[in-house]
């Protein structure tokens, strides 16, 4: 028997045996088809009285079978209490599934009931199979959609379904938390010894139970007769046999998980959700050498560098030889070479908005089509940089929307992006050529998410994806106050870093003419005219907009002139209004806003009142607000500077942030008062 095992796995058909025990561990609070009266009577969920619905129990179980290859089976049974009409959405269920080429997932055994209590009687409505619809979302994604009957306030709904999957790489993940509270969530996973998965847990909640038990699984193996074509071929007869494998069964339970609620300034809500995720590391069949699917970074790096859609593209340099030779001939300074190559990629290939770290095909094709994915573009950039003799390598990244990357042993599905890294002497640069407006060395905001992984044979490590620029704005005004309270003068607004990036994008989208038209407008008393731009195209220079500004006053001179010296440009509302904060405040990019405004006081007037200077700091050098007032002759100068020095503030710092902005808003509202000097 033993002798036959390996052959069985690879050339014969194996069916799931009856020996596999399918029941899961000890307690099973929800029994399908039965619900107790107390649950039906419940009108409020005590742990969260505002909940519109609550998941009473959610059970998941993943295990393996074999049928022309291994499959993962996932069973789920969910029971939900509907408390309010606004919770009705939970009764419309969509189960997405995936197919690619001949590999597929299928959803079956969809069952469901709705329970209601009417006049002391419990009614039970069955989900009918004709109420289950199959929908194709796009070429690879499908969904089973069903809607539960007779849902009212107070209903309990339950449903169960099974999914079999040919995709072993990602054993189905489990979310313990949802946008409604979850009273009980349990996931069981039974993995035969052939497979080793890495587990990744995240979230703010702890497991109430977490166990691992060993057991033996007995598979009944059935193989059919087979004809082997060609020389030495022939017919082998069918038969059956037993295979034994030891398995690990994991069980995780979380009770009373609170509802997940979105906040401002976060990466993605998924980063804060309690869940568990798996990635296949190795496969070892009996009497076979183990196959490493992923594992330590050493091996992953090696594999990636050999992969057809990653490392091997870095060696396909033939098609751009001439361009790179021209650049190295023109520039001798390595930094200039780097910038020139970055510009070359930006101008010759346009991003098609597709993510991923594997190329969509040979990068040569992207070069010829002048269009490509993130990987097509940035691996092409890396290849070109290497070809020019620069010390460059790719860096795997997970975008902010995609979520956090766990460090430690590698889980490649946690990444969805790739950029280029260049080391010139002691200096290191991170480059992304997907956005024509990004200068070399600056990353788009989507990439500013923790750490990326440098994939290089001799230099593999985590690199910090910190912003190299800030949200920088410099507002410089020179204005003359007229005796009627009006103003005339000029303003230059300069921008750098991420602020310049966003203005350049607007200019690119609107066109210079439209953008100028947009700026030139009259709001309240203020009127902006004749805007002029500088350095719109030169990405390494400060972008500036110069315009004339005027404010209408009264028709005749006035005795007292009141003026907000921030000209309505300051902070008028606190961005941090809520009392509390659960998650860190993730601004992504530091802020640096400076205003310097000079006022010429009209003759015959004196300054009766002007704001006092102030300096306010956040704890641990987290930020600083400076407000200064200076007077020289008939010129009054106001300077305001807001520096938010950290891209991320932790939740305990929130009250300080809120107060910091309160102070800024109050200071920016302050006024200058000028008074006519009485003639005597």
């Amino acid at each position: 028997m033993k002798l036959q095992t390996s052959t069985l796995f690879f050339s014969l058909v194996l069916l799931l045996g009856t020996g596999l025990s399918r029941g899961y561990a000890q307690d099973q609070p929800a029994k399908f088809g039965k619900v107790d009266e107390e649950t039906l009577k419940m009108r409020v969920y005590d742990q969260d009285t505002s909940a519109a619905a609550v998941v009473l129990s959610d059970h998941g179980y993943s295990y393996f079978t074999y049928n022309k290859g291994f499959k993962v089976v996932f069973e789920r049974h969910t029971r939900i209490k509907v408390l309010k009409k606004s919770g009705y959405d939970v009764a419309n269920i969509s189960v997405p599934y995936y197919q690619r080429n001949s590999k597929k997932e299928s959803v079956y055994s969809i069952k469901g009931f709705t329970y209601n209590q009417e006049g002391g009687k419990v009614t039970k409505d069955k989900l009918e199979s004709k109420a289950v619809f199959d929908e194709q979302t796009n070429e690879n994604w499908f969904a089973k959609k069903f809607t539960m009957p007779n849902v009212k306030e107070g209903s309990v709904i339950e449903y169960s379904y099974t999914i079999t999957s040919d995709f072993l790489y990602n054993l189905r993940e489990w979310e313990f938390q949802s946008t409604i509270p979850v009273a009980y969530s349990e996931y069981n996973v039974r993995i035969p010894e052939y497979f080793h998965y890495k587990q990744e847990q995240q979230g703010y909640l702890r497991f109430d139970e977490s166990t691992k038990t060993k057991s033996k699984d007995s598979f009944t193996v059935v193989w059919s007769s087979n004809i082997t074509p060609g020389m030495g071929g022939g017919r082998t007869s069918g038969g059956s046999g037993q295979v034994e494998a030891s398995s690990d069964t994991y069980r995780w339970v979380i009770r009373n998980a609170p509802a997940l609620r979105p906040e401002k300034y976060i990466t993605t809500l998924r980063d804060y959700q309690s869940k568990i995720d798996f990635e296949l590391q190795t496969v070892k069949y009996p009497n076979e050498l183990p196959q490493v699917m992923t594992g330590n970074w050493d091996d992953v790096t090696k594999d990636l560098l050999m992969a057809e859609k990653f490392g091997s593209q870095l060696n396909r340099k033939g098609f751009f030889k001439a361009e790179i030779a021209a650049i190295t001939a023109k520039h001798t300074n390595p930094e200039q070479q780097m910038i020139a190559i970055h510009n070359l990629v930006k101008s010759s290939v346009k991003w098609n908005n597709k993510y991923g770290y594997y190329t969509s095909g040979p990068i040569r094709k992207a070069f010829e089509n002048r269009s490509g994915s993130v990987a097509d573009i940035n691996l092409m950039l890396t290849a070109m940089l290497q070809d020019a003799g620069l010390n460059a390598g790719p860096v795997l990244v997970s975008t902010r929307e995609h979520g956090r990357v766990p460090q430690g042993s590698p889980m490649l599905n946690k990444f969805n992006y790739v950029i280029a890294h260049v080391k010139l002497g002691d200096k290191e640069y991170l480059l992304d050529a997907t956005d024509p407006l990004l200068p070399a060395g600056m990353l788009p905001v989507r990439c500013l998410n923790g750490q990326g992984r440098l994939i290089k044979k001799d230099d593999q490590r985590w690199v910090a994806l910190t912003p190299t620029g800030k949200l920088t704005k410099f507002f410089n005004g020179e204005l003359t106050i007229n005796p009627n309270g009006g103003l005339t003068g000029t303003v230059t607004e300069s921008s750098a870093g991420y602020n310049a990036l966003s203005i350049r994008r607007t200019i690119l989208e609107d066109g210079k003419e439209k953008f100028a038209e947009k700026i030139s407008k009259e709001v309240g008393n203020y009127k902006v005219e004749k805007p002029e731009f500088k350095n719109v195209e030169d990405l390494n220079q400060t972008l500036s907009v110069h315009y004339s500004l005027s404010a209408s006053g009264n028709s005749q001179p006035v005795d007292v002139i009141y003026l907000n010296p921030m000209l309505g440009q300051g902070e008028t509302e606190n961005p941090f209004k809520l009392e509390e904060r659960l998650y860190p405040v993730d601004l992504a990019v530091p802020i640096d806003y400076t205003y310097v405004i000079k006022f010429v006081i009209p003759e015959g007037y004196e300054i009766e009142e002007s704001p006092k200077g102030a300096i306010i700091s956040l704890p641990e050098d987290g930020g600083k607000f400076m407000y200064m007032v200076q007077r020289e002759g008939n010129v009054l100068q106001i300077m305001s500077k807001i520096n938010m020095l950290k891209p991320v503030y932790f939740a305990p710092e929130y009250p300080y942030l809120k107060e910091f902005y309160n102070q800024i808003v109050a200071k920016h509202a302050e006024q200058i008062v000028l008074k006519k000097i009485s003639s005597n």
């Binding site: 606004s86 959405d89 979302t137 849902v151 609620r261 947009k518 407008k521 009259e522 007292v560 008062v673």
Partner: protein, 630 residues
């Protein structure tokens, strides 16, 4: 000289553009793509079958024109795609590629979890990255849903020009075509062959149309031909569309016999209203029963897009779409002796226009009309919480087609004017010496003005409601100490909101002066752009009134230095008044803004912007106090 230069430029453009791209420079101005030629032919085979054939050649001049390299063809159970072909050519007219069938994606056009629709879309793409390039698409669809005949809108995307486009309809002899032309330079050409009556339209040299703020809907401005059937048939249901009456008769056929309730339900309903005489009270009972026993789920497959589920199905399953729920409610009202009428309407806050003199299928929603002694009560049957008889911004103030036993009849739904949609506020604000304050704010919202609060009350948890208040109250720095909402349902529903706010540094203190902006929380903070010369009429579609009365109690020891003027503007667009009165330590601010809806000549746009800027300026006014010297 200048003229010569211009000519030279044209020639150069011509030369650069190469053989296929000899475009008229006037067409290129402001355009990312030019539709060189589009031919659309609609062939009617019979009252129940028709074929649309489209051939389109587009030249794309830059990346912003790439949308034209994508073709979307919608289809469903009643509309089949016969074929899609496509070829792209480079700037020299050399073929780049032909579209393969395997490259055409076929995706679902519905996405929400509470929708099951058979609407799908085929997507073909021929995007190229070297400009200019040309794409040629040809496709054909066959429909067995002859309720709809195609519309022709040759210029249907922005920043695009059309060199030449044509539309042809082939009607078999004996069948009538109904059509409506708008904004066309040239009218229809008509002729006959032995078998068909032919109708043809042609248009050329259309340049990009740019929208303007507060402009009428694009569909009013663009050249367009709408067509509709006279006799038609869908899935065995024969009808005629010559009049609204006839169209209504067809709907009656579809609904025939679908309003039968189980006897048990009838008995339950009758017991529920036993002893009640007032019909309004009966309607309320039935409507409440509907709202607590059903929910909206949109399952529309094939003819299900037009035919409701049987009332007995909704009764046993507790869900359905607008047709099913309306038909069910009609059956329930019937059971308690109240007749009502199924009515087609355009739901949505912008979808109001119905061409009243061109009977055709122009609706996307169904509501129920209940004739009362004095007037009509309208019921929205898909909502679990709407007030009985409130149409609001979703179905109010527009045409609806009543499906009476005698056929269709077009009527207007309830209108909501500036007098109905009111936000009226009374606040008292007590200030201390450091500029902090405690405010008690009571606001009453009625009519369309109550809708935001209505949704917040029904959809958000208390924690989310509090967050919503923080997002929506515009005061620089504040805390919500307590809040309450009280919804009073009715035909003119209202919400009473009570807030207790603590305000941080609400007034600005500079030295010995105190600056108070008396408009507490209803300042206008944007003004639309004055675009200079204007082409289109100005349309304002919302009407409302805001009244703010704010009473401030100032700290002791301050004397008034400056009080802003009172303002009063009255224009065609609305009226504004603000007034500050000071009585000892009490400052009273009263602001009234009434905005009317209307349609105005293009020339008045500048005056409207000026009015809005006046309101903006008035809202910024400050009262100044000086510390009394003691």
């Amino acid at each position: 000289m200048k003229r010569n230069l211009h000519k030279l430029l044209i020639i150069m453009l011509w030369v650069m553009a190469g053989p296929v791209l000899g475009a008229d420079p006037d067409l290129l101005k402001g355009a990312n793509a030019i539709i060189n030629q589009e031919e659309k032919v609609f062939t009617v085979h019979s009252p129940s079958k028709g074929t649309t054939h489209v051939k389109r050649v587009v030249t794309i001049y830059n990346e912003h024109g790439n949308d034209h390299a994508k073709l979307y063809v919608h289809h469903d159970k009643l509309n089949k795609v016969d074929f899609i072909k496509g070829t792209s050519y480079d700037g020299n007219g050399k073929k780049i590629k032909s579209l393969k069938n395997s490259e055409i994606r076929n995706v679902s056009a519905s996405s929400a979890d509470n929708e099951v629709l058979d609407n799908r879309v085929m997507i073909a793409e021929l995007t190229h990255r070297v400009y200019p390039y040309k794409v040629e698409f040809e496709y054909q669809t066959t429909t067995s849903n002859m309720l709809f005949y195609p519309n022709w809108v040759p210029l249907n995307s922005s920043k695009t020009s059309v060199a030449k486009a044509s539309f042809q309809v082939m009607m078999p002899k004996g069948m009538k075509l109904r059509y409506r032309e708008s904004n066309l330079a040239e009218k229809v050409k008509q002729w006959s062959t032995t078998t068909h009556d032919m109708y043809s339209w042609e248009i050329s040299n259309l340049t990009p149309v740019e929208s303007e703020p507060y402009a009428p809907s694009m569909l009013e401005l663009l050249p367009m031909v709408r067509t509709a059937p006279s006799d038609f048939e869908v899935q065995g249901y024969k009808g005629n569309m010559d009049s609204w009456e006839a169209y209504g008769k067809w709907i009656n056929q579809l609904n025939q016999g679908r309003d039968v309730l189980p006897e048990a339900t009838k008995a339950k309903l009758q017991a529920m209203v036993a002893g009640i005489d007032d019909p309004v009270e009966k309607i309320n009972k039935v409507y409440q029963y509907l709202q607590s026993n059903t929910r909206y789920v949109s399952i529309q497959l094939g003819l299900g897009g037009w035919q409701p589920f049987e009332a007995s199905f909704v009764d046993s399953k507790g869900y359905g779409d607008c047709k099913a729920l309306t038909n069910y409610t009609k059956a329930m009202l019937q059971a308690v002796g109240i007749p009502s009428i199924y009515a087609l309407v355009n739901g949505g806050s912008d979808e109001r226009e119905v061409l009243t003199d061109f009977p055709s299928s122009q609706f996307n929603h169904v509501i129920l009309s209940v004739p009362m002694k004095q007037d009509t009560l309208w019921l929205e049957c898909t909502s679990q919480f709407e007030s009985a008889g409130f149409s609001g911004s979703f179905t109010g103030d527009r045409h609806a087609l009543l499906i009476t036993p005698e056929g269709g009849k077009l009527v207007k739904t309830q209108e909501y004017t500036a007098k109905d949609n009111v936000q009226s506020r009374l606040a008292t604000v007590k200030l201390d010496e450091s500029g902090n304050a405690v405010a008690q704010v009571q606001t009453r919202y009625t009519g369309i003005e109550h809708e935001d609060h209505r949704d917040v009350i029904h959809n958000l948890s208390p924690e989310e409601q509090r967050k919503w208040l923080y997002r929506n109250i515009s005061i620089p720095a504040f805390d919500v100490k307590s809040y309450s909402f009280n919804l009073k349902k009715g035909r003119m529903p209202e919400v009473n909101e009570k807030l207790e706010l603590s305000l941080r540094q609400f007034v600005t203190i500079s030295g010995k002066r105190m600056f108070l902006t008396p408009n507490l929380m209803n300042r206008w903070n944007t003004v639309p752009q004055n675009t200079g010369k204007r082409k289109y009429e100005v349309v304002r579609s919302s009407a409302y009134t805001n009244v703010d009365t704010i009473i401030y109690e100032m700290p002791a020891g301050f004397a008034l230095e400056f009080k802003p003027n009172d303002f009063s503007f009255s224009t065609a667009f609305g009226k504004f008044e603000s007034k500050v009165t000071i009585d000892g330590r009490q400052v009273t601010y009263i602001r009234t803004l009434q905005m009317d809806k209307g349609r105005y000549k293009p020339e008045v746009y500048a005056a409207m912007v000026a009015f809005m800027n006046d309101v903006y300026k008035a809202d910024q006014q400050q009262v100044v106090f000086v510390k009394s010297i003691k």
